[in-house]
């Protein structure tokens, strides 16, 4: 089922507003930096794509960490935009679906209570557990952003929180099913994730997924020199309605799947997930993993369904890999690029590797009105989303 998008918002490494970040994407800017929030000199992966702003002051700060606060900001903004486009709903007919990628230990958050502990675990309470803040568990609760947003909006309809690398896509899929089933009239989908935590950078580099290159030598996905992706972070939100409800910016279809592999999914899985949403599309936003073998496999399977001449971009070359927020960011970025009649180039692509599809080295004009986007994650997870623009002037934004 395809649904209408009537509101959108994000916080990304290229900017906090859609117009700003899409403008920078189309200008060929890349968010990668070696100036992160913490010292990375001793790390194998030393670069990332951080959000440069800080969350606004919020009454929810005692319950939410930084990325959750960004998630709430994006969700509120998306709903506000939806309201300006005639979407009026609250209460039991508004559902909230969340994708949360941060199911990690967050070691540094725990050091205050744990740095005095002994390996043999003697006297754990006296050595620090008694100093844990009463809200410590709530602050790390997976569905706290979902709960606080529901309370903010008096949203009492269907909803759930999904975790992991493709959680945003799973939240999107659940929202579409709920709209299809008629249990809600409007769905607010939001997702947030940061791969820029000390423990995540260490792990991604050890797995060979993240780049270990210096910033000056960073190669883009689909480049012959590609050597791993740039970890990033983002929060994004979409407001969805059933088709024909009015006020649509674009329509969207989503699918997710997997094959149970411990690391990245196989090419057959990517092909199967893409085939579930593709419909004669000639533009594809690739998963952009920047690992030559995986990039080639991906191009080959996509050529099988889209044709060898389909144009290939990779918004994650500019934004960084965004984990659970990826699908929503791809949808917003591509929808707005199509609305402007311009396809984004693959930022930093110098020498495309051999293979099918046409990797875009620079932004170029297009009359395409739809695009397919893919993303992947471990263990064996794949997600696809198809975007078709319905209101190009609104997506074009302010002049």
């Amino acid at each position: 089922m395809s649904v209408d998008v009537v509101g959108q918002a994000w916080r990304t490494p290229l900017g906090d507003t859609v117009d700003t970040a899409v403008g920078r994407l189309l200008a060929g800017e890349r968010a990668a930096t070696d100036q992160l929030r913490f010292e990375t000199r001793t790390y194998a992966c030393r670069i990332g794509a951080p959000i440069l702003s800080s969350p606004q002051r919020s009454k929810h700060s005692r319950f939410l960490r930084r990325m959750g606060l960004f998630g709430l900001e994006a969700a509120h903004e998306a709903l506000q935009q939806a309201r300006t486009r005639g979407c009026e709903v609250s209460g039991e007919r508004l559902g909230i679906f969340c994708g949360y990628g941060g199911l990690r230990a967050h070691w540094d958050d725990m050091m205050e209570a744990l740095s005095g502990q002994q390996p043999e675990q003697s006297g754990t309470w006296e050595r620090g557990l008694k100093r844990i803040h009463p809200y410590w568990m709530l602050k790390h609760l997976s569905n706290n952003a979902h709960a606080l947003l529901a309370a903010d909006l008096s949203a009492r309809g269907d909803g759930a929180t999904y975790g992991g690398a493709t959680a945003g896509s799973q939240a999107l899929g659940a929202a579409i099913r709920a709209l299809d089933a008629g249990s809600i009239d409007v769905a607010l989908v939001f997702a947030y994730d940061s791969l820029l935590e000390p423990e995540t950078l260490v792990d991604l580099a050890a797995r060979g997924a993240a780049t270990t290159a210096e910033l000056a030598r960073l190669a883009a996905p689909y480049d012959v020199q590609a050597g791993g992706f740039v970890p990033g972070e983002a929060a994004a939100a979409l407001v969805l309605q059933r088709p024909g409800s009015g006020g649509a910016l674009m329509s969207i279809t989503a699918a997710d799947g997997g094959d149970g592999r411990p690391s990245e999914p196989g090419s057959e899985t990517l092909a199967a997930v893409a085939a579930r949403v593709a419909r004669a599309d000639t533009v594809v936003d690739g998963a952009g993993r920047a690992v030559p073998g995986l990039d080639t496999e991906e191009r080959t399977v996509l050529a099988g369904s889209l044709g060898e001449g389909a144009r290939l971009t990779a918004v994650q070359a500019a934004f960084g890999q965004l984990g659970a927020a990826t699908t929503l960011v791809q949808a917003i970025a591509l929808g707005n690029c199509l609305g402007r009649g311009v396809l984004p180039g693959i930022t930093g692509l110098r020498e495309p590797a051999e293979g099918p599809l046409i990797p875009l080295r620079e932004s170029q004009p297009t009359d395409a009105r739809s695009a397919l986007a893919l993303s992947t994650g471990a263990p064996g997870l794949a997600a696809a989303v198809r975007i078709e623009i319905t209101d190009a002037p609104a997506l074009r934004g302010a002049p």
Binding site: T42, W107, L114, W125, L129, I132, A150
Partner: protein, 427 residues
């Protein structure tokens, strides 16, 4: 539209390993909350729990339980990763293997999806050993980057990913993994999601359920600071719907189910344990730590489930309540049950096994199979004194004999996440 049926069930709880131990204990009215034994909890504010009777934390029990499902090389790899000592990962694996076996599934998991919840606790005190050995300065993750030693990968991986990797490897599952993280409603939502996939034809078989364990110093310490557990360190500390209730008791365990389309199950000669008839999901939109006092949205979740199942209130023969034994939750839920379903038999098994957090909905759904298996409704351990604020037909400590065809289970999570699911007898 395909109908979703449960063809396999596996359970790990304080009442023992396996469905037989679980159903035997429930039908005999036994409870298993007691002093924590697998580590020294004597100085913690919370010293009782629904502890699974497996005391080793070095994975020996799990190694034995997995015999035949993983090669020795694979077991050693998991041991190295540290996954074997994470109790919730082990419980999830053992429950899934039992469900898989009970369903009669063989080496054909390629088209099987995995929809599960796993407790979100990601770290253990013992993981800090290497960090604490850093000389001088504040212990930090930098040690791992600087040391040059082999990276202790488990310390950085999501536990739910590790659990899923083990299951897909053991059972050769080839479908997507859907991690549910909606707090204490997650287990119920994982099963509802599975049924939804079957009904819509998106999947033909889903291994689903939940596993959790917070029975460790960090989990109990954090919950104690939050103030949710009963202050009493006694085996009857959790008293659902009782006038003297004063808080929850933490439990641990897992329940996993094989859910598939009725057509496929019958075609391969499997005998379904139950039908999944309907489910509902709502949000309180109220507070992070307290339910909506009037139970309005819990009520709405039950109404949604009835509507989806095409049933009326009088069709429901038994309710397995969320029933945490906390002062606020029980009256709100009781009011919702009374207003939607009237005078229906209700019980909570949390007095017997504790509150299994993310896994609570799944294990309680397994308890909902007992009426179909043995014409027996589980009792409510430690419910002795009726509370006028909870004006419903609470089944007391002794189970009740009854033949019912339709049962309903509630799960309500932190943040006001409500989920209800309805099962029907298969015949």
């Amino acid at each position: 539209m395909s109908r979703a049926v449960i063809t396999g069930c596996g359970i790990v709880s304080a009442l023992g390993l396996g469905t037989r131990a679980f159903w035997n204990a429930l039908s005999e009215g036994r409870a298993a909350v007691g002093p924590i034994r697998h580590f020294d909890a004597s100085k913690l504010p919370t010293r009782v729990a629904g502890e699974v009777p497996v005391l080793e934390t070095n994975g020996t029990w799990l190694r034995e339980a997995l015999g035949g499902h993983l090669s020795e090389v694979a077991i050693e790899a998991w041991e190295q990763s540290g996954a074997l000592r994470d109790r919730k990962i082990g419980f999830g694996w053992v429950a899934a293997l039992e469900a898989w076996r009970q369903a009669g599934c063989g080496d054909d998991g390629q088209d099987t999806w995995l929809s599960m919840a796993l407790g979100l606790e990601q770290a253990f005190l013992e993981d800090f050993g290497p960090l604490l050995r850093k000389e001088g300065g504040r212990p930090s993750i930098d040690w791992a980057a600087e040391s040059g030693a082999p990276l202790p990968r488990v310390r950085f991986r999501s536990r739910i990913d590790l659990c899923a990797e083990g299951l897909t490897s053991m059972l050769r599952l080839g479908g997507p993994v859907i991690p549910h993280v909606s707090a204490c409603a997650a287990g119920t939502l994982a099963v509802a999601h599975a049924a939804s996939l079957i009904e819509r034809g998106a999947a033909t078989r889903v291994l689903c359920g939940a596993s959790d364990s917070m029975v460790n110093p960090l989990g109990l310490g954090g919950m104690s600071r939050l103030g949710a557990p009963s202050p009493r360190a006694e085996p009857d500390a959790c008293r659902p719907f009782d006038r003297r209730r004063d808080g929850l008791v933490i439990g641990e365990g897992a329940a996993m189910f094989v859910v598939e389309s009725e057509e496929r199950a019958l075609a391969r000669g499997a005998l379904p344990l139950a039908r999944i008839l309907g489910w509902g999901s709502t949000q309180d939109a109220y507070r992070a730590t307290a339910p909506l006092p009037d139970g309005a949205m819990a009520k709405r979740a039950m109404q949604q489930a009835l509507k989806r199942a095409g049933l009326s209130a009088r069709d429901i023969g038994y309710v397995n309540a969320h029933g945490t034994g906390t002062p606020l939750n029980d009256p709100a839920e009781a009011r919702a049950i009374r207003e939607v379903l009237g005078h229906v038999p209700v019980s909570s098994i949390k007095g017997a096994v504790g509150h299994l957090m993310a896994a609570s909905g799944a294990v309680e759904l397994a308890a909902c199979l007992l009426p179909f298996q043995r014409d027996c409704l589980p009792g409510t351990a430690h419910h002795r004194e009726r509370d006028p604020e909870c004006d419903i037909d609470v089944i007391g400590e002794r189970p009740r004999e009854a033949h019912v065809d339709t049962v309903l289970s509630n799960s309500f999570g932190f943040g006001g996440q409500n989920a209800t699911i309805i099962l029907g007898r298969w015949s």
